[in-house]
Amino acid sequence: MTGWGSQVDALDVARWQFGVTTVYHFLFVPLTIGLSVLVAILQTLWHRTGDEKYLKLTKFYGKLFLINFAMGVVTGIVQEFQFGMNWSDYSRFVGDIFGAPLAIEALVAFFLESTFIGLWIFGWDRLPKRLHLASIWAAAIGTNLSAYFILAANSFMQNPVGYRYNPDTGRAELTDFVAVLTNKVALITFPHTIAGAFLVAGSLLVAVALWHLIRNRDSADTPAYRFAARFGAWVTLASATLVVITGDIQGKIMTQVQPMKMAAAEGLYTTESPASFSVLTIGSLDGSRELFALKIPYLLSYLGTGDPNGTVQGINDLQALYSAQYGAGSYTPIIPVTYWSFRLMIGFGLAAAAIALLVLWTQRKGRTVPNSKWLLRAGLAMPILPLLANSFGWIFTEMGRQPWIVFGEMLTRDGVSRSVSLTEVLTSFTAFTLIYAVLAVIEVKLLIRYAKAGVPEVTPAPEPDDTDDAERPLAFAY
């Protein structure tokens, strides 16, 4: 590459910016995905039973959902623009394939999501109840659909399929769109990500409800909070199970299509058969060899291949293979990053599930939640744990793909915008970081404020009637 010397700094900053803005965006996405459905379920329960506690919970968690939703929307626009702004050579190279799912995501999913969220926010006591309920479901479906398209796009970067490289144009060209949408990485990443999102949403339900159960012990709304805590805990446990199952399948697919990522997850330097799973390995600082290791025999072989004696390729062997295949250079991700992010992902996710189990245990057979400081603390930690698990999961899967931006086809350093100067990218990185930091503080404070305020008083309105509302105003939501 020409101009490499002057470009390397702008490249680093562009990568940091993408990392920071994406991880930040994905702090809001899981709650939007999971909570939209959970709020829709709560509203459905109210619709079916007429029990006021479900209406209270719908409005209560709906408010928290909307505080979070706004942040997801505005940080999402940055993501779409950023490919062109900072990764223009990547965009040129894959646009024929990568642009389509993004455009479809906007047309099919974002319109649905944003239009029906507007109807839901402003339609309380105004839209016929069934239609209002349908609005939150439409928004929830839109949100979950959007996840599929963006994950299909990302999966192309992990495991490019359905394309050919055109040497005349120097571009990757789409040959089979169905193959892109049914990429085996996409098919398994979707349920894994959705389950991860429900892990966060379920945990939030528990955390907020548990706080009220412990702090406001004589509240008239205790039955509502009890339901929310138990419902959230069951959602957390069910999604944790699904996360583990899908993660296991994902690991096997990863071993096939991105063996370097699997080896990097494990810090496995030499090919082993059978390979043991490292519970804890302390490597040398540069990550090139291990100093201390605690291992479970056969487990890595089983995780990676489904066979306890299966062969798992090691970093050094893959590095030699790729050097021969793609030319001299390093094809190894930063091992300490992949190794630790992989473990932190699993650890934080399981910790949330363990607390959910504890919460269910404390309320078994109608028991009152104990007035325990430790239970309260564990409950409040709950939503943070799976959020961290989500973040580390993304850091792992994206850093584990390095040095590739499209595995086997394009190096990350070749995808960066050549016309964007270091000053420009430093400006944007600083600006995004500052505004995101300020908004994070505001958002968290608002969430806490509204979570503490508790479920609202509700006065069930009569079914809206189009004939008598000439004088009735639009619902005021803002």
Binding site: L66, I77, E80, M85, D96, L112, S114, T115, G123, R418
Partner: protein, 332 residues
Amino acid sequence: MELTTIWFLLVAVLFTGYFILEGFDFGVGMLLPVLGRDDKERRVMINTIGPVWDGNEVWLITAGGAMFAAFPEWYATLFSGFYLPLLLILLALIARGVAFEYRHKRPEASWKRRWDKAIFFGSLVPAILWGVAFANILRGVPLDADHEYVGGLLNLLNPYALLGGATTAALFATHGAVFVALKTVGDIRGRAAALAVRLGIAAAVLAVAFLSWTLTIRSSTAAVVLAVAAALALLGGLAAALVRREGWAFTGTATAIGLAVATLFAALFPNVLPSTLDPAGTLTATNAASTPYTLTIMTWVAVFFTPIVLAYQGWTYWVFRKRIGVTHIPQH
């Protein structure tokens, strides 16, 4: 018709829809400190666009996505070349979107004042910069033979582009004032209509100057016809605003904005980003396009889903068709 032409038209339609719809959102935001004399009036204004602003913004996301999918070279060159203006637009849209949702979440006047500022600047900045950006697309920018932008930031701040920015800001402000007059009752309705007329005269002068300048840079018969029609629609809208026919006034400003954007695309075609430096760098609907296979798939997706989207989005406007006023505002 060539697939590339169809997609040029579709991208044009998406941006036209975006500017018509978010145009009045921006206008309402820009006029918040002018028309909203107290907190109740400002809340009325924000609630006129409350149910729809987010859906309106998706037109931009879809336009961006369509550009990426159908014309990756255009998307890549434009977005990396116009880096700092787009950064400012993004920051503005972030602040504004959060402001709509958070402003009413706390009762303190200082809290609301800060978000009001975010709404004002978050609307004003993109309203100007979109005009600057589209004027530069029309005028052409320095591109090398690899289609890379080689001009700096100052290259984008030329008099023609600044006139473009002033024009879009004035048009959107007028459009917003007309929308407030259309959607409210009470004192604010009359003030909004009066302001719409005054703003509209300024917008008409700017728009005529900008479109005339545009047609001296590049032109086609279609572009001339569309420009004249845009001017007539704007004048018709202003006349309707003058006699307090708000529905017709809004139809007029919406049509004028749509036709003005159509003028730009008609003048631009078949180019999508002309180069002022190396003619080989010029991007056209042909050399910037994706493969016919991708365009075919995207065409089917668009044909199937666009009518559905238009139907339910149109229905939202119908659901929230009623006027609102300060008497309807709840205490908290």
